[in-house]
Amino acid sequence: MMIGVDVGGTFTDLVAADPLRGLRFVKTPSTPDDPSRGVLDALKLLADELELTLDTLLPGIELFIHGTTVATNILVERRGARLGLITTQGFRDLLELREGARDNRYALRTAPPTPVIPRPLRLEVRERVAPDGTAVLPLDPESLDAAIATLRAAGVDGVVVCFLHAHRRPAHEQAVRAAIAATGWEPFISLGHEILGREGEYDRLSTAVVNGYVGPGLKTYLNRLFGRLTERGITVPVQVMQSNGGVLPVAEAGTRAVGAVTSGPAGGAMAGALYARALGLPQLVTYDTGGTSTDICIIQDGLPVERNRAELAGLRIAAPAIEINPLGIGGGSIARIDAGGMLDIGPMSAGAVPGPACFGKGGTRATLTDANLVLGLISGETFLGGRMRLDVAAARAVITQEIAAPLGIGVDEAAYAIHVLATSRITEGIRLATVRRGMDPRDFALMSFGGAGGLHANAVARELEIPTAIIPAMASVLSALGFLAADVRQDLQQTVNAPIRDLHDGRLAQVFGALEVEGRAALETSRSRGGHAGDIHVRRFADCRYERQVHTIPVPLEPDDTAADLERRFVATYEDLYHHTHPGEPGIVETCRVAVFNTLPKLALPVLDAAPAGGVDCAAARTGERRIFIGAAVMAPVYWFEEIRRGMVIAGPALIDSAATSVLVLPGSTATLDATGSLCLSDAAAPAGERAC
């Protein structure tokens, strides 16, 4: 059996895939004080469903992949480890100087960022390496010993070591680790060149700092979880989902903690990719609307688009990761009348606490969830499978007071305005994410998941002129599902900084060859720690730019590519993005990168039988009807997602509920089930032989 478990802020989702029992999923509340308890709860629930016990379930697990918000939360809530920095003399302030940039240029009154390592704990030692890797100044043991002693006396949990040009000559950073070890002290150590092996001191420094900041907390958590699972009989190591869409075994995941900061959304993207491959969709855009935000990902040719640099919670993370375009719209997003007298929504969110007014936990602001409840689109009784009763009266009161009264309109109209504005925000967010990649949204398929996505999917697709919106049957646990589509992955890189045309004499092959050897060795290490022995495959990239440019674009390469091939691919990739090229301007390779994969067993999506000829009556899936307001009050039939069969054609207006989400089918649209069991919403007329209900 293969298990994927995603611990989110509110829920812990588990997906189990088994050749005999098929796909199963369970959802339990998360336990933020000790998230490993929620994982055990979910496993217990699964065992119950399978009529097993934990002790009989766990030994049968062949693959256990875990994603967690532990690292993300530590970062966002700024409650990470107490760190010290050891750096090159003269450069202790790089972290605080950032790179002299910020966004939102009109907001001049915001607080200056507080560096996660305060200045007195940023220590300098005498050493200097030149750009070509020569040690201009040897590492001075006296200042090093003093720095180590100071940090040890200060009681830091972790030490970040980042020297200039250390990617060219790691020896000095390695020597610091040895010197610390020699004292018998065992802090959590992050070496800049190990976390990121390429040029760019701020990228390496900031990424290593994030690693050190979230590392001790993540490691403690993972060890506790693994300990508990081992106690109960699991025999395979826990694999931890990474932001790059790969996994690492628990021991490595703890030391390369920065890799886990967006593991949940990465799982969602991997699931999107799985569906894109299964459904043969060359271009897919996914959006995941949860409580506070919407994450948008682009899947091209069956793989999520990646990026090399991102800002999260105000901190730079420069490790390769799946590109997540966050948008501040979720169920908890606050709607308000702004100073100009107009309705606006987000990015402020009521979060989980106090949450929307209808949660009855003290929320006093009108949120998207309140609006959707007033509109009848979600049901006060079946929200989250009935585990959370919603207070319709409170929702009506807050929307009346905050929105309807100031605008002088009815509460239904006000709620509908909030709903439509949220749809618009999601639509424009998706449009920008595709245009940003040089693409047209109309060339994409759309997939919606997350608890709050399904109510907007139909309208979002219409506005984007995308023919079909897909909502997977397991939309509410999609990240956990995506974990089971991942392989063990190691990323390695080397700075080259040379014109492409100068890379003759097999230099390219030599650089990639060395990286690949290193990557395979790293995978062997993982295996020796109990990892799976699967097939190994490698993806190669060169980060290239034109000579006069600053930023690079990633160019995928084939194994036997020569410098001439690279030049050609760079120009083609650039043209895809920017719609022109610069003949005569030299292309530069800044960095060569490899991603080395150790193939893991994969979950296969179910393939449903084709619909019987003559169609299927929808009545069997129908559970009742609800009064909804979508510009006008209408009675909409309500269906239960899990009871919908292939061949049924559900005509809007209709609602499709499940334990974790609701889907709105608009008038003029129909919902059908595809071969993967996903709902497809489209405006196309029902195929011949099927009849709409």
Binding site: G90, F91, R92, D93, E96, L97, R98, E99, G100, A101, R102, D103, R105, Y106, A107, L108, R109, A111, P112, P113, R119, P120, E124, V125, R126, A130, P131, D140, S143, A147, L164, H165, E199, G200, D338, A339, G340, G341, M342, L343, L407, E413, Y416, A417, V420, L421, S424, R425, E428, L432, V435, R436, N497, Y546, R548, Q549, Y578, H580, H582, E585
Partner: protein, 571 residues
């Protein structure tokens, strides 16, 4: 009555149109630098040419666009057709400086002009005395490059190759300029296409009503902010470091009169125009004033021309802030804009001290030309160490952002890349203690960069900018920040301080540049600063113990355990 739902959605869509224009520009503009620096801005303007929606990229572009588009529209009043795209850059036709080229397209629906779609981009080279513009040697506008009064770049959808060729021929990089103009063209067309969709979805009159409501909303926000200030007459005064007379300061006096939610900004007291590139054409002056008011209000939703209705600007033709031909204007978007924004912020700070913001470090840069370690020629621009920003009621200023005209615009390059690509060694890059203006909220610290020239032959340094003689101002009893202090140490000639207009300075191999950037201005009297914050500043080395005692009046200022000193001692 206008449906609030339609209003909320249409407003958001109009904003999204400009964002999409920016993305289109990013993905089609040709010169490699432009598509990565994003030195361009997109706006939608109403049929009567008020900015309704804008994608904020470069604040100083924004307030200047309506004037440019208005004059373009007037120039072709009787001769506008669907598919026409107008182009202009002339400071005396509503432009700012010559590299900023604006394209504007009238958008028709139902036979009626409904919107203007416009995009302004800073072009790499538009001719003139020096490559890339910003020539301090310019004494008249014709020295600065090609003036383009309003012309049609496209007529009824067809690009005028003749115009394109003529303009491109006046650039040192004709392919870049042509490519970037075509990208601007693609971006405004993309904007128009998206408007087309909007008009398919919503009734034209309904959209017009939304536009009115959005502008009225902008006006309401600004008036509300102005009413929240003490009404009356307030003065602000900033100075520019004017080149022809070394050490000479050119005052920028501003009088802001607030009455019943309305502001009159009187700039008529400022000096006559000068034969140097710091004159600010009226459109740029208007833009700088608007930026100052928007900074002061801090409400991004107010970013449209409705807010401008509450502000009247008075200038004197022939003056520095409303020059006439032949005034050169190259530095208006940076140096002059900064000085004017500072003066307006000072005046507004008097009207509402709660909202006051201390001064920001100005821009002081230099270029270095020489031969690298292999003897190949190089030119390098100093883009590090931007200096501190001012404090405000709630927070200290930021280190390393600088420049009020565009705070924190483009990230600095990496030190490692710099050292790998140029004959330069960065020996130190750190915060500079005691540079931030003291105050209840301290100004952000300046930085210290120690840079060694490691080339094989002497290099030549040319400086430009401001902020050595005029430090970032303090407000509400806060102290000024320290001004920029750049020094050159050479083995033979000893140490000299670099002036903002120094040019042709020769650096011998081995010469060391020690650049301390300005700190931001402080807010409020220093002795009212939270004592723990002062102690932390001392413990962190942001403020020296001596300054903590002398300036902040901290009795128990500890001697900080300065680790850097201990490292130096072991050296």
């Amino acid at each position: 009555m206008l449906n609030p739902l339609t209003l909320a959605v249409v407003r958001h869509k109009l904003k999204a149109v400009t964002e999409e224009m920016v993305e289109t520009m990013t993905h089609t503009c040709f010169s490699p630098i432009l598509n990565q620096n994003q030195d361009f801005s997109a706006v939608l303007l109403s049929s009567d040419i008020q900015t309704v929606s804008q994608a904020e990229r470069v604040p100083i572009h924004m307030g200047a666009m309506p004037l440019a588009v208005r004059l373009m529209a007037e120039a072709f009043e009787d001769d506008l057709a669907d598919g026409d795209i107008l182009m202009a850059n002339d400071p005396f036709w509503g432009g700012s400086h010559l590299p900023d080229v604006t394209l504007a397209m009238p958008f028709f629906h139902g036979g009626k002009l409904r919107f203007w779609v416009a995009l302004r981009a800073h072009q790499g080279d538009i001719g003139g005395l020096s490559a890339g513009g910003y020539s301090a040697a310019a004494r008249e506008i014709w020295h600065e490059g090609l003036r383009i009064p309003p012309v049609k770049l496209a007529a009824r959808g067809g690009v005028r190759r003749d115009v394109l060729r003529m303009v491109a021929s006046n650039s040192r990089r004709p392919e870049d300029l042509e490519g970037d103009l075509m990208a601007q063209l693609a971006a405004v067309k993309a904007g128009a296409a998206r408007l087309e969709e909007l008009f398919r979805r919503y009734d034209a009159e309904e959209i017009e009503a939304c536009v009115c409501a959005v502008l009225d909303g902008g006006e309401a926000i600004m008036r509300q902010m102005l009413r929240g200030c003490r009404q009356g007459r307030y003065e602000g005064r900033s100075c520019m470091e004017y080149e022809p007379a070394p050490g000479h300061l050119l005052p920028i006096p501003v009088i802001v009169t607030l009455e019943d939610g309305r502001a009159v900004v009187d700039l008529t007291q400022c000096p006559d125009q000068v034969p140097a590139f710091i004159n600010s054409p009226y459109a740029n002056t208007r833009a700088a004033v608007m930026v100052a008011f928007l900074y002061f209000s801090g409400d991004e939703q107010g970013l449209n021309d409705g807010s401008a209705r509450a502000i009247e600007i008075r200038t004197r033709p022939g003056s520095l802030l409303d020059p006439v031909l032949p005034a050169p204007v190259g530095a208006c978007t940076s140096s002059t804009a900064c000085a004017l924004i500072e003066a307006v912020l000072q005046a507004l700070g008097g009207a509402n001290p709660e909202r006051a913001i201390g001064g920001f470090a100005r821009r002081f840069r230099f270029a270095l030309a020489g031969a690298d370690r292999q003897g190949r020629p190089f030119i390098w621009h100093y883009f590090f160490n931007k200096g501190g920003t001012g404090g405000n009621r709630d927070h200290d200023g930021w280190p390393n952002l600088g420049g009020l005209h565009n705070p924190g615009g483009t990230p600095s390059p990496s030190i490692e890349r710099t050292e790998a690509s140029y004959p330069l060694v960065v020996e130190e890059y750190a915060l500079a203690p005691d540079t931030g203006g003291a105050g209840q909220q301290r100004g952000g610290l300046g930085g210290l960069m120690r840079l060694r020239y490691d080339g094989t032959t002497p290099a030549v340094l040319n400086a430009s900018g401001e902020g050595v003689l005029v430090p970032p101002f303090g407000t509400g009893g806060g102290a000024d920040g320290a001004g920029h202090d750049y020094r050159i140490a050479q083995a033979d000639s000893g140490e000299r301080r670099l002036g903002v207009h120094d040019s042709g300075v020769v650096l011998e191999p081995g010469a060391c540049l020690v650049c301390t950037s300005a700190g931001g201005g402080g807010y409020g009297v220093p002795c009212s600063r939270d004592r723990d914050a002062v102690r932390r500043d001392v413990a962190f080395g942001y403020v020296s113990a001596a300054a903590a005692r002398a300036v902040y009046g901290l009795e128990d200022a500890p001697e900080p355990p300065d680790r850097r000193d201990s490292v130096h001692r072991t050296a």
